[in-house]
Amino acid sequence: MIPGVSINEILTLTSILFFIGVYGFITRKNLISMLISLELILNSSIINFVVINKYLYPELLQGMVYSIFIIAVAAAETALAVAIIINIYRRTGSVEVSETETMKY
């Protein structure tokens, strides 16, 4: 644990980050910007796992291992999302959400 910093302050920081990500996910209209907001949301949840593990159950490793798994899944998801976005751009010439209406040609 960080000396002098309570768990409430870190959880406040992560919830602020989470809702900034949600705001970006709602207001952005570009696929890559939505991907960036998604990374913010995932990252705040990872920090939550780690903080709760460290402050409440410091002798266990569950939160740590879960955050490693979340990072691996996020990496796979980003690689797939970038592949899909590049394919969409090749087919339709744009990555705006409003122009990707159909999923199959």
Binding site: S15, I32, I36, L40, I47, Y55, A75, T78, A79, L80
Partner: protein, 200 residues
């Protein structure tokens, strides 16, 4: 001292997160995201999780951000400005997010957390044993599943990015033989009519 560092990290993370979701230039918002990720790695260093901080720096800041930057550079110009949602929609979503944030904060500050108060360092060897043990607290099955997931995601990304050979520009329509024949016949008709008029 550690408290001051934590607050500096928190301010950097929040301001660059706000800049990442509100910047109108795409490449800049990716760089702001990089600042947020590095700030999270600093938090892990402060909490004495060195291995996790190293993973955060290599996988997130080194891998994912570079991947997103590559896709931005493949897709559009650096200085291209993005469309943003209308003012009304921005206000509504900001209000919704503030509402959700207040619910979260009320829950967090009303729940009595019992901090253990012990500081124990986690070594990398312990994490490796936890990941590969068959015991009740072991994670051998999720570990194997995640490796299969990574392999399938890699193959899927290659297949998806390679497929779709038809390259279509925004203004160009799909080639349709019947429509082309129709156009040609229409052109022929249009050309014939004036000739007859001239002849008459």
């Amino acid at each position: 001292m550690e408290k001051v560092i934590f607050y500096i990290l928190a301010i950097i993370m929040v301001t660059s997160a706000i800049a990442a979701v509100s910047s109108r230039k795409m490449l800049r918002s990716v760089v702001y995201l990089l600042f947020v990720l590095i700030g999270a790695a600093g938090l892990y260093f402060q909490m004495d999780y060195n291995f996790l901080a190293a993973i955060q720096l290599t996988v997130y800041a080194g891998g994912i951000v570079v991947l997103i930057i590559f896709s931005v550079l493949l897709i559009q110009h650096i200085e291209m400005e993005l469309e943003v949602a209308g003012k009304y929609r921005q206000m509504i979503s900001a209000l919704l997010c503030l509402l959700g944030l207040s619910v979260f904060l009320a829950t967090i500050y009303s729940h009595p957390f019992e901090a253990a108060g012990i500081t124990s360092t986690t070594t990398t060897a312990e994490i490796g044993r936890a990941l590969l043990s068959f015991d009740k607290q072991g994670f051998i099955l999720p570990f194997e599943v995640i490796s299969v997931l990574l392999l399938s995601a890699m193959i899927g990304a290659i297949v998806i990015a390679k497929g779709g050979k038809q390259i279509r520009q925004p203004g160009l329509e799909k080639i349709d033989p019947e429509r082309i024949l129709q156009k040609i016949s229409e052109e022929v008709k249009e050309e014939k009519v004036p000739e007859e008029e001239i002849g008459v």
